[in-house]
Amino acid sequence: MIENDGYNLRLYVAGQTPRSVAALANLKKICEQHLAGRYEIEVVDLMKNPALAQRHQIVAIPTLIRQLPEPLKRIIGDLSNLEKVLVGLDIQPT
């Protein structure tokens, strides 16, 4: 079940800005609450790897991309609005 249902999330940030830090904290909190044990978070710092911004079509920072499950979903912002994050990631609140 975990294989099919697993969430692969990638958070794009640009350095350690307060907004990035907040976004990561918010994301971790949400995942722990709703996706405990079936998620994976990868943080990509575009400051360190700027070429990825173009390759992955990043415009806004922070951007969260749901790689898995399909289809691809994007959420931009510091993820402070819980409801929108849940809708955006297509997570049924538990």
């Binding site: 415009v59 951007t63 931009i76 609005n81 929108k84």
Partner: protein
Amino acid sequence: MKADTKIAAASPQLPAVEKSPTGIAGLDEVTYGGLPKGRPTLLCGFAGCGKTIFGMTFLYNGAVDYDEPGVFIAFEERPEELIKNVGSLNYDIQKLITEKKLAVDHVHIDPNEIAESGDYDLEGLFIRLGFAIDNIGAKRVVIDTIETLFGGLSNELILRSELRRLFEWLKQKGVTAIITGERGESTLTRYGLEEYVADCVILLDNRVHDQLSTRRLRIVKYRGSAHGTNEYPFIIDEQGITVMPITSSGLAHDASIERVSSGIPDLDAMLEGQGYFRGSSILVSGMAGSGKSTVAAHFVDSMCASGRRCIYFAMEESQQQITRNMRSVGLDLQKWADKGLLKFSARRPNLFGLETHLAAMHRDVSDFDPAAVVVDPMSALMNAGVTTDVHSMVLRLVDFLKARGVTALFTNLGMGIADNTSTQMQISSLMDTWLLLSNRESNGEHNRQLYLLKSRGMAHSNQVREFILSAEGIKLRDAYVGPEGVLTGSARLAQEAKDKAASLVRAQDMERRSRELERRRREIAAQIEILQAQLASDTDEEALLSREGVAREDQLTADRVAMGTSRQVAATQNERAATTVGKPKT
């Protein structure tokens, strides 16, 4: 940074604003050197007016001609599409990308795919742009319709502050940027980008009039620099963008005193015997069928015959039609075309707008480098635009041709001198020589006439000539001017015959009268002879008489003497007696 010394020299009065040449023909002239260097320029216009092409041309020229690599950020088109689209302009974008002279980044924003939660900024865009710029050392950036962001992201407040930051950031980066924007209803751009980009604003426009579209460009503002303020037409075709300023606002053409033959000896004779001035503009106007094209063809023929090149811009007939028709007056134009001296450029006037015509002519003239051009007929172009447009187009064409020293002959379909339409009046004032052809109807036939309305700078003939199209070409004959007006054609022939008859009668009359006089003279002479004979006989008689008189006198005297002698004695006796009687009284 090397290129600016040249630009600064081009506008010495404005050393303050450094400029980055666009390499777009004409635009660098109206901006006096190009776009403000290291600053963003706003390029706005409605959809389809050429913003993207404009931006790409700026980058392409920068990369190829000015050694300034560029970055194209496309919000609307994918790189493949973009490369394909500008491929129609012969821009090999792919090659430039491979050579790292150009980078294209497509920013894709799909609102359906993006959810927003909380605050964000556009740092991702900055990073992409910064990375692309640093990667190839870009000096130029084009951001093609950044306003797409407003459709993709909902937080306008964030967007606006980020845009402001972006333009500041671009300035700090020192790149010359073009930001394109879609034109709004009452504002220059739909989202008011002009608020942020204040250095230079260029407006593009694509107006349709009578189903023909004309692209125009206007520099709305250019901080710290003089610029042309007019609307300049521009064209986009396979050779890129060409903006067309009225090039010689200073009217500083060289005026040649060299002459070129009109190809019609009789017409040359009317033009001081030498023909037109080289580099002058000649207008041949007349009604349909008055022989305008034939006059033009003679000119072309004579130019080609002297080894000079010509372009014939045909607006109504095809090359085949023209060569066939001219053969009927003994001109073989095909021969010159085959030799490469004559180029036909046949285009329907309504094929495209005036500006495109003008640009096409510009290009033909630049490529072929002719000594003379013929536009036949120019009036066809008038249907392709508004009168004022036609006027300005012809003005620019005339300027362009004069600047190159190309002799230009325009034909114009009009109703002759009586037709003082504004178009004809406006255009005729641009012309140096105006030949008027007319068709005169009299006695059931039309006859062609030619007359020189004006020819600047020479003592030209003021005579109306009869214009005859023959198999040997154009002949001009003195029109018959008599008490009944100017007669041409068979009326002239009839009048000439009448004159001949009258003069014959006159001659006969004269002869008769002189015979009469001769007769009378002889009569008088005869009378004089008779009288003189009488006089002579009278004189003889008189002499005879006087001789008779003398003889008679002598006779009488002799008689008397004789008688006296015989009576001598008696007389003496008588005398003596008389003396005695008297003596006693004393």
